[in-house]
């Protein structure tokens, strides 16, 4: 089965100082799907995710080699416009990191920095659209002025997703987005992700194997900085090609 990858990495190496954190990653992530990246702590899965929107640039002494091609463009080129890259490739973090601002201003922030502001009505429309997509509009439409940090954690995480969606991204990176949530909230976020994959390419890092199995279409297993196996989730979980993968997903280590 041949598919056009949305994100493709070619011989991707990443160094933190002298430490080689990602070793020759070759990976083709298909569009309009959910791809899970799993592996034990410290295997480099978050590091890999953060390469896709160049968030690793914020950490000193990192060096990246190889290529990451998104829609035919190598985003590791030095002249890449990071601002539009991060608009196109949004990110949701481990802990809901809403700003200490009102719900309204949390959502308006992105619109403002990308100069997507065209009059109050349009802002409200975008904000409404974003909140509807994550199923928060009914709950929050009368409370847009409240501080976002007063919301429940699940609502905060949904708001973080809305904050990304409102910028009309192509790809959404999720770095263990449910690790701060209880099981029910986790399931509801997963449902939301299923709905979103129609329009977006989702890449989710998780340490929760069940989550990867239930929520993703493709799975990559990483170990000690290497991509051990990548394939359709069904196949990786039921019929892994590598012994290491089998040992990990069956709970022998990790």
């Amino acid at each position: 089965m041949e598919l056009v990858p949305k994100i493709e990495t070619v011989g991707l190496n990443l160094y933190y100082g002298d430490f080689l954190a990602l070793k020759g990653i070759n990976m083709k992530i298909p569009g309009q799907n959910i791809t899970a990246i799993v592996g034990p702590s410290g295997c480099g899965k978050s590091t890999l995710l953060r390469c896709f929107n160049r968030m690793n640039d914020l950490i000193e002494h990192t060096k990246v080699e190889g290529k990451i091609v998104i829609d035919g463009l190598n985003i590791l080129e030095p002249d890449t416009d990071l601002i539009s890259l991060r608009k196109k490739v949004g990110m949701v973090f481990q802990r809901p990191n809403v700003f200490d601002l009102s719900i309204y201003n949390n959502l308006k922030f992105g619109l403002r920095i990308h100069r997507m502001l065209d009059g109050k009505d349009e802002i409200i429309q975008s904000i409404r659209g974003g909140l509807e997509q994550v199923g928060l509009w009914q709950e929050l439409k009368d409370k847009l002025g409240n501080n976002a940090r007063t919301l429940m954690l699940e609502q905060q995480q949904r708001l973080c997703i809305a904050r990304v969606l409102i910028l009309k991204p192509d790809i959404i990176l999720l770095d263990e987005p449910c690790s701060a949530l209880d099981p029910i909230a986790t399931l509801r976020i997963e449902e939301l992700l299923q709905a979103l994959k129609q329009e977006y390419t989702l890449v989710i890092v998780t340490h929760n194997m069940q989550q990867a199995a239930r929520a993703s279409d493709y799975t990559g297993f990483m170990y000690l900085g290497e991509l051990v196996e990548f394939g359709q989730t069904n196949q990786v979980f039921t019929n892994p090609k590598q012994e290491l993968t089998e040992n990990y997903i069956s709970g022998h280590f990790g």
Binding site: I83, R86, K87, F93, R95, N97, V98, F99, I113, L167
Partner: protein, 289 residues
């Protein structure tokens, strides 16, 4: 058993020192109030609070606090206008922009700045800043409100910078990540995310800085011209509440009307700084939440 006794002793000592501070402040206030009230027995309160001239040794004397209050107000507002933007900008630079090595140097420089005795600043004001301002602005004298404002701004800077920097640094790192992740530049992140989150702490720092400016005496006395008249502008000689007390207490006959009037001025000052500290405290408490 001995452990319980030593616990008890330590606990009592701590309780005692805490109580002592409260009692001292309270006594201080009572003392000021008592001596001020002695004035209002012989000099009407309304004429003190709203009187437009301060002529303590004329016959009959007049103790209108308005010129002194305005003197303090002009100098303080001037200092605030100068030190608040500079202080916040410096704090932003130290907290978010400066590389690590520069950060350490700057932080210790700010501490050194805080330790310059005010009389030294006053001296610099008399021999250098005052004459320089007179020449540049074409004033009749350099000993005026602006000179005081500049030096007092300088004195308030360390307080503002230190507290504002603390507030900025304690904004969770995750906010920064979120903002960068959305494609914000460093400046947008700093201005629209980090600064609003730190605002309570920054305001508290500013209020404490202002408290310092209002209470400062030596610089005010040395460089503002010591002229207790209602100032028409900040470029004229004026006199602050603090400088009046410090300057006249030595000449006032103990127990005289003038003597009590100076206590009343002290009471006004006490009330002002109390209000400012109260506001600062309220903001600090909100910042910690």
């Amino acid at each position: 058993m001995p452990r319980r006794i030593s616990e008890y002793i330590i606990e009592s000592l701590i309780k005692l020192s805490g109580l002592l501070v409260i009692i001292l402040v309270f006594l201080l206030f009572l003392f000021l109030l008592k001596d001020s009230l002695s004035l209002f027995g012989v000099y009407p309160l309304g004429k003190f609070l709203f009187g437009r001239s301060w002529l303590p040794i004329s016959e009959p004397p007049r103790f209108g606090v308005i010129p002194l209050f305005l003197g303090s107000l002009y100098v303080t507002v001037g200092a605030i206008i100068i030190c608040v933007p500079v202080g916040i900008a410096s704090a932003m630079f130290i907290a978010e922009v400066a590389p690590k090595s520069l950060k350490l140097v700057l932080k210790s420089l700010v501490e050194i700045l805080a330790s310059i005795p005010s009389v030294v600043l006053g001296f610099i004001g008399i021999v250098w800043l005052g004459p320089a301002l007179r020449n540049v602005l074409g004033l009749t004298t350099g000993m005026c409100g602006l000179t005081g404002s500049l030096l007092l701004a300088f004195m308030a800077l360390p307080t503002i910078i230190t507290i504002a920097e603390d507030a900025l640094v304690s904004v969770p790192r995750t906010y920064k990540e979120a903002a960068f992740g959305l494609g914000a530049t460093r400046w947008q992140t700093l201005w629209r995310v980090i600064l609003p989150s730190a605002s309570s702490g920054i305001i508290a720092g500013v209020m404490l800085g202002i408290g310092r400016v209002i209470g400062e005496t030596m610089v005010a006395m040395m460089v503002t011209g010591n002229s207790p008249v209602i100032p028409k502008s900040i470029l004229q000689p004026l006199r602050t509440l603090t400088a009046t007390i410090a300057g006249e207490m030595g000449e006032a006959v103990s127990g005289s009307e003038h003597y009590f009037a100076l206590f009343a001025v002290g009471l006004v000052l006490f009330v002002i700084t109390f209000i400012i500290n109260f506001i600062a405290d309220a903001f600090l408490r909100r910042a910690r939440k």
